[in-house]
């Protein structure tokens, strides 16, 4: 049977979840199930067992901790569509359908770690930190570098992603994606921006095997913001920095070009926000 009881755990606390995971080291952790369940039905994934986080109430919801916003890893994407950080809100709003957004969680988006996932460029641009919890305690790591390959992260064995922490210092941030449809599509490419105190930080989705950002790009983006560089300079810097995939949806060349366009658009929006442009 697909869901034989001994292989399926439905913990209600983080502690129970960690125990369940310890008992089933090969289990797949399921939150909203919007990726795992289709995979199972389509037989592109098998699992030795499941630990469902659906009933772990402590993983849902947002709170403030000093100058950080703490978003529980089990918080559904639908709860973020009006987030204060524009990039987070825009990425949440354009993810899937209302039904998917209601089920899909921010933690699932992070741990699934596919380069086209909506939330990832937003989190990277916002310089998010991840709270990882295990039997032995809790550690906090930067999201930058957390993903090491498509679908692969630095999450340790027996460890759960329990929260995403975002700086609340005022900034302008936004997110854009391109696809063939006008809604309900995986990003052909995507980008997010954070502009704070005259410095720009950009991040890109489906621009390489992992969510991608580059100091070199940000230097040019910052220069574009205050008029020391032109759009072509930023496009060239982005083209140098990214390594996008080629598939049936779009060519690598198209993606490279479009990423430059998105970067420029986002910096222009940041300019307008800062009263520097029109």
């Amino acid at each position: 049977m697909l869901l034989a009881a001994p292989r399926f755990a439905l913990p209600e606390t983080v502690g129970e979840a960690l125990s369940a995971l310890a008992e089933r080291p090969d289990a797949v952790v399921v939150a909203g199930g919007t990726e795992v369940m289709p995979d199972l039905l389509w037989r592109v994934r098998t699992a030795a067992g499941f630990v469902s986080l659906r009933r772990v109430g402590a993983l849902r919801g947002t709170s403030r901790d000093g100058d950080e916003l703490v978003v529980g890893a089990g918080t559904p994407v639908a709860a973020l569509v009006d987030a204060e950080a524009g990039a987070l809100a825009a990425a949440a709003r354009s993810l899937g359908t209302p039904l998917v957004r209601t089920e899909a969680t921010i933690g699932g988006n992070v741990v699934s770690a596919l380069p086209y996932r909506n939330m990832l460029p937003a989190l990277l641009a916002l310089d998010a930190r991840l709270e990882l919890t295990s039997d032995t305690g809790r550690r906090t790591v930067a999201f930058d570098g957390f993903t090491t390959a498509p679908g692969v992260t630095r999450l340790g064995e027996g460890e759960l992603l329990t929260a995403v922490r975002l700086p609340t210092r005022p900034c302008f941030s936004d997110y854009v994606k391109i696809g063939r449809r006008n809604a309900q599509y995986v990003a052909t490419v995507s980008a997010a921006v954070v502009s704070r105190n005259g410095a720009v930080r950009l991040a890109f989705g489906n621009a390489g095997p992992v969510p991608l950002r580059s100091d070199a790009v940000d230097v040019v983006a910052t220069a574009l913001l205050d008029g020391r560089a032109g759009p072509d300079d930023l496009r060239a810097a982005v083209a140098d920095a990214v390594d996008p995939p080629e598939d049936t949806v779009a060519s690598a060349a198209y993606r490279r070009h479009a990423l430059g366009v998105l970067a420029t658009r986002l910096v222009v929006r940041a300019q307008v926000d800062a009263g520097l442009g029109s």
Binding site: W42, N182, Y185
Partner: protein
């Protein structure tokens, strides 16, 4: 000429009689048919594209708790007829395409059935397969006929000579992609084999026609018609893919015969629909057009290359609309097929007209630009007085009026013909037009019964409502034919217990069933007058002898599209899409609009989104789910309008209807492609139009 019914109920936008049940979820679809302790069926599919099954190990599957039976190509009952190879389920170990069914599992639950199906181990002797359609293949062949019986090739005059001497010519190759029908409701059946006596089979099936479906099942299984009942009160879309029974229906019946007395449920998964439920062939269309300086055509030709499955020939009649659409002394149409190791292609909304109104309608746009003639005007200048193909007069033809009214409503007048010069913000803006056409058909077989019951009129006919509105529109016709208020009419459809009805296909449903209802109503009144006794009844078939053969009968239309293309990314938006149709009498404006705008959206989807991607290495459509097979979503549709002319056609049938289910998809993709060209100056001749096809050449 037919005496047209006086419209009273007809023409009213009555709400759907089944609407409340559907919205509340109480309308019963095939899979949901109540059954006590039903067994569930799951399919085992071939994982090679060609070869032979050498062994099947079912031990692990059979050992699974809850598994009731496993049937394979080696153990299945022998069918009475294997003439239709698509339907010869489990009759051979030969694998003709990837995804072919080689076994089935019956279990207590659907989860167990699927799990067990996964555990069935199939060993193959795999052979090389051939699944690539190319126009330069040296083994293309000429089918005897094209669907459903048209001549394969036609020629009149000398196209080559006209091309050589014309003032202007267009000579290009256009292509359409592979498309899968993808109705929302998957193909599903609840089947019950009653062991009493000789056996009686009931199929609650998602079908476009209960009687045609029964006839096929009876032939394949060797059963008498009165031993089989097919029931389909509600169908969640078909688009042709439920117009003929596919192998799933035969498999459901076979599965039921394994478990006599117990209902068996079989629903194809979305992924299985991509290999078992039909699809539209990709087409390669070489189009030639020649004209004088005023735009009058001297030649029009289309040479089509497309595919068929090796298992069963289906030759889509892609060249057919070119035969009758415009006046031209020199004309040629040809069809050539590549027979491939692929699943069986079949009907999909407007087979023939849908792909066949892409290449030629884009070619006309190219000709209009080359000649400096407005594309609306170019079409008007080539309006034929009679059907160019047969020489018959039109039953009615109002293409010119559709073009003019559409141009007026759309604001076409004064359009700047230059491509790629209008910018609004970062968007390049353009508009395009194309014509639509669909033949008016009426099937030979349909009978209606009218009975006076407790002061009301019951109309019984095995018609289908595949979302088109038959539950609502057939009473409107019956009410007018009987000259009673529509509330006094109850219809009973979707069941072979009622008199025989033709398939809901070829946009012929209401034309045919309505004709039968009118005949029955007239006979009823003739027999019983206006004051019948309770229980008086009359059963009459559609009067095929009265079918007009002296006129060419078609519905026509014109579609106008505004496209916006992002100058930096090539992203395409269609903020406006307007169609005007001349499709005979519209029985119910509410349900009619739904069909028109639905089909237009499907055409938009064909232009920009839908594309079944075949991996020729595996013979497999890789994007076989709705996450990756993109269909236009609500956010892709802007201001979408369907209008129609008040057209009276005395030749087609007693209602004056022409059928409206398919015409809206024809020409729609061409109108989008023409608008994208006008916006950007980039002529994309291969569908779908993608961002990266546009980007390198954007101004």
């Amino acid at each position: 000429m037919t005496e047209l019914l006086e419209p009273r109920a007809m023409g009213q936008g009555l709400v759907r009689r089944d609407g409340v049940a559907k919205v509340r979820g109480t309308a019963t679809y095939a899979f949901e048919t109540p059954a006590e302790r039903p067994a569930h069926c799951a399919l085992v599919q071939a994982t090679v594209a060609r070869g032979r099954v050498t062994a099947i190990d079912t031990a692990a599957a059979e050992a699974l708790d809850g598994v009731l039976a496993v049937v394979t190509v080696f153990t299945a009952e022998r069918l009475a007829s294997v003439e239709d190879a698509e339907l010869a389920a489990l009759q051979t170990a030969e694998v003709a395409f990837r995804g072919q069914v080689v076994g089935l599992v019956l279990a207590e639950t659907s989860e167990t059935a699927r799990e067990a199906a996964d555990l069935v181990e199939v060993t193959y002797d795999e052979q090389p397969h051939d699944s690539e359609l190319r126009a330069d293949r040296d083994d293309l062949y000429t089918p005897e006929k094209v669907n459903p019986g048209f001549e394969t090739d036609t020629a009149e005059g000398d196209v080559a000579a006209a091309m050589a001497t014309a003032h202007a010519t267009v000579d290009h190759t256009y292509s359409t992609a592979t498309y899968h029908n993808n109705p929302l409701e998957p193909h599903a059946t609840t089947a019950l084999w009653d062991p009493a006596g000789d056996g009686f089979l009931t199929l609650w099936d998602s079908t476009q026609g209960v009687h045609p479906s029964r006839a096929t099942v009876c032939q394949v299984l060797g059963l008498p018609q009165d031993h089989v009942q097919v029931v389909a009160p509600h169908v969640g879309g078909g688009f042709g893919s439920k117009g003929t029974p596919h192998v799933n229906v035969v498999l459901a019946a076979m599965a039921a015969r394994v478990l006599p007395g117990r209902a068996v449920k079989l629903a194809l998964t979305r992924q299985q629909m991509f290999s078992l439920a039909g699809y539209r062939t990709p087409t390669i269309q070489h189009v030639q057009v020649a004209a004088d300086a005023e735009g009058r055509l001297s030649a029009i030709a289309i040479d089509v290359v497309e595919q068929t499955s090796k298992v069963k020939e289906f030759a889509e009649q892609t060249g057919v609309p070119t035969r009758m659409m415009y006046a031209s002394p020199n004309r040629r149409t040809t069809h050539r097929l590549a027979a491939l190791d692929l699943p069986v292609n079949s009907w999909m909304r407007a087979p023939g007209e849908c792909p066949g109104m892409f290449g030629p309608e884009v070619a006309l746009d190219e000709l209009a630009h080359d000649l400096g003639i407005d594309p609306v005007e170019l079409r008007i200048r080539n309006e034929p007085e009679v059907d160019p193909e047969t020489g018959k007069p039109w039953s009615s033809r109002h293409l010119v009026e559709c073009l003019r009214e559409g141009a007026e409503r759309f604001g076409w007048t004064g359009r700047d013909p230059r491509p790629g010069v209008r910018r609004e913000g970062g968007w390049l803006v353009g508009t395009g037009v194309a014509s639509s056409v669909y033949p008016t058909m009426r099937m030979a077989d349909s009978t209606a019964l009218i009975r006076f019951e407790a002061g009301r009129y019951a109309v019984e006919i095995g018609a289908a409502d595949i979302g088109t509105g038959t539950w609502t529109t057939l009473p409107q016709i019956a009410a007018d034919a009987l000259d009673v208020p529509v509330d006094d009419v109850e219809v009973r459809i979707g069941d072979t217990r009622y008199p025989i009805a033709s398939v809901a296909g070829g946009s012929s449903g209401l034309n045919t069933w309505g004709s039968a209802v009118v005949e029955a109503a007239r006979a009823f009144r003739g027999e019983y007058g206006t004051d019948p006794a309770d229980g008086d009844e009359m059963e009459t078939g559609v009067d095929q002898a009265a079918q007009d053969e002296d006129h060419a009968a078609y519905a026509f239309g014109a579609q106008f599209v505004e496209a916006r293309v992002d100058a930096d990314t090539g992203e395409i938006r269609v903020p406006r899409h307007l169609g005007v149709f001349a499709a005979g009498r519209i029985v119910n404006p509410r349900t009619a609009r739904s069909q028109f705008v639905g089909a237009m959206t499907m055409g938009l989807s064909m232009a920009l989104h839908e594309n079944s991607l075949l991996d020729p290495r595996s013979g497999h459509v890789v994007n076989h789910d709705l996450a990756e097979y993109h269909i236009s979503v609500n956010a892709d549709v802007g201001d979408l309008q369907a209008h129609w002319l008040d057209e009276h056609d005395p030749w087609v049938n007693a209602m004056g209807t022409k059928g409206i289910g398919e015409i809206g998809i024809t020409g729609a993709a061409a109108a989008v492609a023409n608008a994208v060209w006008h916006a950007t100056g980039v002529r994309v001749r291969d569908l779908p139009i993608t961002l990266d096809a546009l980007l390198p050449s954007l101004p």
